[in-house]
């Protein structure tokens, strides 16, 4: 399940936008300009089922996203979707992993408190006995230079 973001959860001044997510789901997004730096030495790890519903998260995911584990398990992975991310990036991600290939890219993720954090994300299909049973996403600290390039590039992809 995914619900609209609530002003009470937001830290700092925020903007509001409605994002069209997968299928016909629309989500009210409240977002700020506050960046949380990626912690050194950590990996953010999650797995989803074939529909993109979160089935596993690690501690770093919980810490960085601001959600509790209970809120994350069962939620669609697009709970992290930031309005500054071009839809084309996620279309490319899904097209790639559904072909059974690895996807890698730089992603601006949305926190529960409206803030954001940049990651270098890698997503791979989980193949068990020859069939894809889900996807694993591992995020690591990105280079600032690459992030700056994405800040310039992504607005041109809408």
């Amino acid at each position: 399940m995914i619900s609209d973001m609530q002003p009470d959860d937001i830290v700092g001044d925020f903007k509001e936008v409605y994002l069209q997510l997968y299928n016909s789901i629309k989500r009210r997004i409240l977002y700020t300009d506050i960046e949380t730096p990626y912690p050194d030495g950590k990996l953010i790890v999650s797995t989803t089922d074939l529909d993109g519903t979160i089935t596993h998260v690690n501690k770093s995911f919980v810490e960085m996203s601001g959600y509790t584990e209970e809120e994350l398990i069962g939620a669609p992975h697009c709970i992290l979707r930031h309005p500054d991310m071009p839809p084309a990036a996620f279309k490319d991600l899904w097209n790639t992993v559904q072909k059974g290939e690895k996807w890698q890219g730089f992603v601006k993720n949305l926190r529960k408190d409206g803030g954001f954090y940049w990651v270098k994300a890698t997503v791979i299909p989980n193949i068990r006995k020859g069939s894809v049973v889900g996807y694993t996403s591992v995020r690591r600290k990105p280079s600032r230079k690459k992030v700056e390039e994405c800040i310039q590039l992504y607005p041109t992809l809408f």
Partner: protein
């Protein structure tokens, strides 16, 4: 029939006798003839794996991926509460205080331990460093990585965290840790090959009960950990998937 057991060459030299004692114990418990073969380096180990000469192995995560996916090995157990972590360090006298300050062409000392190098290179990525724009300084062991830093033959070193922690205080005091990984889910594991899988369930039972008797506790101590913990297939598959995501 005799089986061959080996241990990933990145084990601490302090525990070599422990593995021989463990092997003797394992033979008695399973009533199987098991020969412990120690390889000097990863090249020798990989050649033996390639030639299907290994039946049991305490493998590092990188080799575990290949053994499970390509050679039909199955996981049995891992050291309870232990995980493989890496450290990026420089000499204490270095002006560098953060990974982001490292520049292309930097001299990076590391061993041939593939998973530690992988984790270490990931921690250098925030400085836009990769295997193509660093100057590699290959070392035979982690104390030699430290030596390269202290003699200014390398600017930065990649260590297995456990090996770094085992360095003498005299050496550690002359080094500065920039980053210590906190990945938690990457670990060594005891795997059984296709010819030894008839013993998998019995071994799981034996190993996970080992810390309940006095002799078992003493052997575990000589290996450097407190207990074995069962590892199931999915946990290993998950770790391998995770390693796959890092291998780019």
């Amino acid at each position: 029939m005799s089986y061959t057991f080996t241990v990933s060459p990145d084990f601490s030299p302090d525990h070599i006798s422990g593995w021989y004692i463990f092997n003797t114990w394992l033979q008695r418990q399973t009533c199987e003839a098991i020969h412990l073969e120690m390889f000097n380096d990863f090249d020798e180990l990989h050649a033996a794996i390639h030639n299907d000469q290994i039946d049991l192995i305490y493998a590092n995560p990188y080799d575990a991926a290949m053994l499970v996916r390509e050679k039909g090995f199955l996981p049995v157990a891992k050291a309870a509460g232990e995980s493989d972590e890496a450290i990026i360090a420089v000499a204490e006298s270095s002006a560098v205080n953060a990974v982001e300050e490292l520049k292309q062409g930097v001299r990076v000392a590391y061993t041939d331990d593939p998973d530690v190098r992988l984790m270490g290179m990931i921690m250098l990525e925030p400085a836009d460093l990769n295997s193509e724009n660093i100057t590699p300084v290959l070392a035979g062991s982690y104390p030699v990585v430290a030596k390269h830093l202290l003699k200014n033959e390398a600017d930065v070193g990649i260590f297995l965290a456990e090996a770094f922690d085992d360095l003498s205080n005299l050496i550690k005091n002359q080094l500065k840790v920039l980053v210590r990984s906190q990945i938690s889910v990457i670990h060594h594991a005891l795997l059984v090959g296709p010819k030894f899988q008839h013993q998998r369930d019995a071994m799981t039972e034996l190993l996970t009960a080992m810390h309940h008797d006095e002799k078992g506790v003493a052997i575990l101590k000589s290996l450097g950990f407190s207990a074995w913990e069962k590892v199931d297939d999915e946990e290993t598959e998950f770790m391998i998937d995770l390693m796959d995501t890092l291998a780019t």
